[in-house]
Amino acid sequence: MDCRTAGNEIKTDLPQLILVGNPNVGKSSIFGALTGKYVTVSNYPGTTVEVSQGNVTLNKRKYLVIDTPGANSLVPMSEDEQVTRDILIEADKATVVQVADSKNLRRGLVVSTQLAEFEMPFILVLNMADEARSRGIRINTSGLQKALGVHVVSTTATQRQGIDRLMSGISQAVLSSHRIKFDRLIEESTSEIEALLTGIEKGKRGIALTVLSGDDSFTPWLHDHLPEQTIKEIEAIRSRTQEKYTQPLGYVINLRRLRAVDRLVRSLQTTEKTLLRRARKRSRLRRVHPLISLPIFAAALYGLSMLTAMNPLFALLSIPLLLFSLYMFGDWGTHQVYGIPILIGVLYLTWLFVGDFGAGAAVNFLQDTVFGKYINPGASWLIARVLPWNIAKELLIGQYGIITMAMTYAIAIVLPIVGTFFIAFGMLEDSGYLPRLAVMVDKIFKAMGLNGKAVLPMVLGLGCGTMATLTARILDTKRERVIVTLLLALGVPCSAQLGVILGIFGSTGAPFAAMAIWMGVVFGVIFLVGYLAGKLMPGEKTDFIMEVPPTRLPQITNIAIKTFARMTWYLKEAVPLFIIGTLVLFFSDKLKLLSLIEKAAAPAVQGLLGLPAKATEAFIISFLRRDYGVAGLYQMSKAGQLDTVQIIVGIVTITLFVPCLPNFLVIIKERGIKTAIAIILFIIPFSFLVGGALNWILRGLRIFS
């Protein structure tokens, strides 16, 4: 926790603007509109787990804008909500911009009333005004302004509507005069606690109510700000009050708050039933019945696969098809029967785009044509002329050369695969399909001591394990977060690695059989380890409660910006590591260390896994980047140094093998050094054992000989 607060430490003299609001209401969109800086915007709750910062100048005054993770309540229920609360409570001279979803005013006002109690000056932004309007929901904004005593602006951030009004309204942020009156007992205890909070300037009522709600995450803050004696007294007041209620105080307070908010909503919001009905009817029309749409979908998929077989460039068509199908019947994606073919179709389209276009056509073009014909020979020609020293030549264009190995791997092999994956993944994120996937797989995840919500970090792990490990914060308990971190580190291949893996299978004699074995083993291992971890780790199972956002038509511009941001991030993070990895190999090779390590690892790599000694290199560099390791195997298989069994065994082992360095650092940061080391100590022998067992079985069965 210390580590994280340090990371979120906001050091600035600028006045702050803090964006706060329920999950998935568009805080990040507004952040982008204000600062012009892009942060990931997606259509599912929990996209923002890290705090982003940017600047904006309003009326010649510069502000620091802070985007926070979504929170349904300022009395936090999960780690990401806690991040938001901690920022608010520590912020001194901050203005809050509370973003709410216009069509879900009730949930927004819960946060508003809490902001009032914490005495934060704020303005209320009613975002997604377009969606509320189309549903016939009208909010009496002037009435709301009067009731809360703060400025209210309505916006549609994705279309930049109302942003100007928001900008000019920020200077009008004031403290809200609205106070909810709780039961007499609670009111009395609140004022008693408030009286004890000496030395605390503002937000006493909010603090007192938080303490009464029994929020454990708040204890450290209390210890920092109050003497032990006072904390004991406060605790005494709390338990005395709790004794008078049969239900937990937190619940009593929330219930009362919701009742008060409901009254407010009833008096300020009108819904035109006809419009609402028409909006629902529209979405019914959009949801063409699957019995009609699915056969058409299947036919389209079949046609597309035929076309792609002729020319991989046709795989580009899978993107519009994916977009269209997710929009047309995304709402059926949670159906117990139709959900399954939709899931298969979505996976297949993603595979066509990433596997056939990205890993196939694009990699071939970049590797064989761009690098093979122009860059590498060109660089060789140039360097041979410019640099007279042999060692420098080898360092740049030799077997372990920075251009011939690091840059070729990073840009020619991995970048197109990562890029196409990010495009497809962006579609899935923005269409709102991912939370629906969580609904479908909840039962399977239950067996692993998790619940469907864990599918978000796991699927995100297919993009990048490092980001996904951060996203594990959206899970409810520490136990779930540790299990997900373990499974991500162990078995979920990241997009870069995945793409290269798909590429290798394409080059074997029996691509589908090889891929099926690999997938079966990896899924089996994830499930088994998850199952055992779920059984062995102490703690209760948590139940699945998750918001399912509406399906939306993804905006091409958002996906383009998002993909671009992610690719930039990839280049910044991966390329230096690729170069370091190459240098490690280069010098170990020069110092003859490489052959020493290869000899030392021989019993494991050659004996147990039955791989050639050179494969050790792949394992060494996969400490730095998982995809880099697989790329090493890719090169070997292209050179004909591996047979099919060796390819399968090698890839299974390296998939399960250690997470990459950045991921490992994030594991340390998020879960602590002990957990991180325990995970690594488990993974290294375990992955070799699985690989060895697979080798023994495949050789024994003689499937590929």
């Binding site: 239900q247 919701l258 949670t334 609904v439 039962k443 409660i545």
Partner: protein, 235 residues
């Protein structure tokens, strides 16, 4: 319930007000006893007199003046007005017995004496709700028939108990949350933070593979286990 009002005011509204103060529990007791005797197959006025309360004469006078009970040649007859009223009292009494013994696990003797008080104070709306809550029981714990009410007739057609677990709704149905009985405080807190509290209206979108409910304009996926712990009244 309309029937009850008709039975009570039935036809002679001017008398109604005159009788109201005196027309209290005692008359009810008398009518109740007459009903029980009829059930047992007796119409002897003597027996009614013995088994009824001590100020029988006053009560009988009141009842016959209100056109509820008449006596001819030592045999009593419940007139339509009185029969209707007796029916309602008996219904309330026996429903209360079922409620207290079967739902609240009270001993029968206690239940009996409480039921004697409840039968006079339950409003028609509450009676219907209790009946529906209990699933329209046909008999009391002593095995005697419970007179049917309007709700029981509807029940025959629609089979809809009043309060059901959210999981029992049909997809597309809306219900107002009556109470939540979660296993842990955490679940209660999570539900509360999403606005799922008693009093909120939710629409069941689907049940499988996982339950999805709509509250306001938000869709929320909830474990079936939790959906079984949320009790709603259909609206």
């Amino acid at each position: 319930m309309r029937r009850w009002r008709r039975g009570f005011r039935g036809g002679n509204e001017h008398q109604d007000e005159r009788f109201e103060p005196k027309f209290d529990c005692k008359v009810d007791e008398l009518l109740e006893m007459a009903w029980i005797l009829e059930e047992e197959g007796s119409d002897s006025f003597e027996e009614l007199k013995i088994r009824a309360d001590h100020d029988f004469d006053v009560q009988f006078e009141n009842a016959s003046q209100a056109g509820m009970l008449e006596v001819k040649g030592g045999k009593f007859t419940l007139l339509p007005n009185g029969r209707e009223r007796a029916r309602e009292i008996i219904r309330r009494h026996r429903l209360t017995e079922v409620l207290l013994t079967e739902l609240f696990d009270m001993e029968e003797s206690h239940a009996e004496s409480d039921a004697c008080r409840f039968e006079h104070i339950l409003s028609p709306e509450v009676t219907e709700s209790v009946c529906t809550l209990l699933g329209h029981p046909p008999t009391c714990p002593h095995g005697k028939p419970i007179p049917r009410g309007e709700c029981c007739e509807k029940f025959k057609k629609e089979m809809t108990p009043l309060v059901t677990p959210l999981m029992e709704l049909r997809p597309g149905d809306t219900g107002r949350i009556v109470f939540i009985t979660p296993k842990s405080h955490t679940i209660l807190d999570r539900l509360t933070s999403l606005g799922i509290v008693p009093g909120s209206e939710v629409r069941l979108h689907q049940k499988r593979p996982t339950c999805i409910v709509k509250i306001g304009e938000t869709d929320i996926a909830i474990d079936s286990n939790i959906a079984r712990e949320i009790f709603v009244k259909r609206v």
